[in-house]
């Protein structure tokens, strides 16, 4: 079972894609998705204090537990307008 990870801004540029699948297991949290991304791309680790998380289009805290099939977005500081 999987979740879908969405990437934007600097994350999208570093990973070279706007979405990728990640294996899901019970207990997986939003912050674990960030850790998983940083294992392959440690240069993204300094974003942690600035990062927010969204699940299925709603902001969630980093400790939020994920369900199989969730769409999880890593949300760096926004700058619309």
């Amino acid at each position: 079972m999987e979740i879908r990870v969405r990437l934007f801004a600097a994350f999208q540029e570093v990973l070279g894609t706007d979405a990728l699948p990640m294996d899901w297991q019970p207990g997986l949290r939003a912050i674990d998705v960030f850790s998983w991304v940083c294992e392959k791309h440690p240069e993204l680790a300094p974003w942690q204090p600035h990062l927010r998380f969204a699940v299925n289009y709603e902001f969630v805290p980093p400790e939020h537990s994920l369900a199989a099939g969730d769409e999880v977005a890593l949300i760096p500081p926004v700058s619309g307008g």
Binding site: F8, A9, I75, P77, V78, G80, G81
Partner: protein, 150 residues
């Protein structure tokens, strides 16, 4: 005469923004004022010449968050009749419109308050990003001043 109810319009897309369209959608017979705020690409940021801005959005979430913002705005300023937010994505050059916010209300004070609320919260809460591309060809994602950005 029927009493009209509140309505809103949210759009995020690549097409150029149209002040006339946004203004028109904020019109209502109960209005006494429409406040329209336009945002455009400025020629410099933090003292550096800007060549262009690249906007991207997490589109379904951004549209949902804008709808939530409008709901909160209407609870805070219940007098308003219309709320319209159009945001453009893609590469925009100096002077091009990036965002339009219009609010129609029976009285101007509520329209000003609501319009300011919507644009201020949009900048803080809605998943839209801009990359600043400077005149010397270097670039940076806006919104956070951090040394680790290349």
């Amino acid at each position: 005469m029927t009493r009209e109810s509140f309505s809103w319009d949210v759009q995020i897309g690549d097409r150029p923004l149209d002040v006339g369209v946004v203004y028109h959608r904020a019109e209502a017979p109960a209005n006494g004022a429409v406040v329209l705020m336009s945002g455009m690409v400025r020629q410099e940021t933090q003292g550096r010449a800007v060549q262009c801005l690249d906007y991207q959005a997490y589109q379904p979430m951004a549209e949902q968050q804008l709808r939530y913002l409008i709901e909160r705005c209407q609870q805070q300023v219940p007098e308003i009749q219309r709320a319209v937010i159009h945001h453009r994505l893609g590469r925009l050059f100096v002077g091009e419109l990036s965002v339009l916010v219009a609010v129609g209300s029976p009285h101007r004070a509520a329209a000003f308050e609501a319009c300011r609320f919507l644009i201020d919260r949009l900048k803080l809460e809605v998943p839209i990003w801009k990359k600043e591309i400077w005149g010397d060809g270097t670039a940076r994602w806006a919104g956070v001043d951090v040394a680790f950005q290349s």
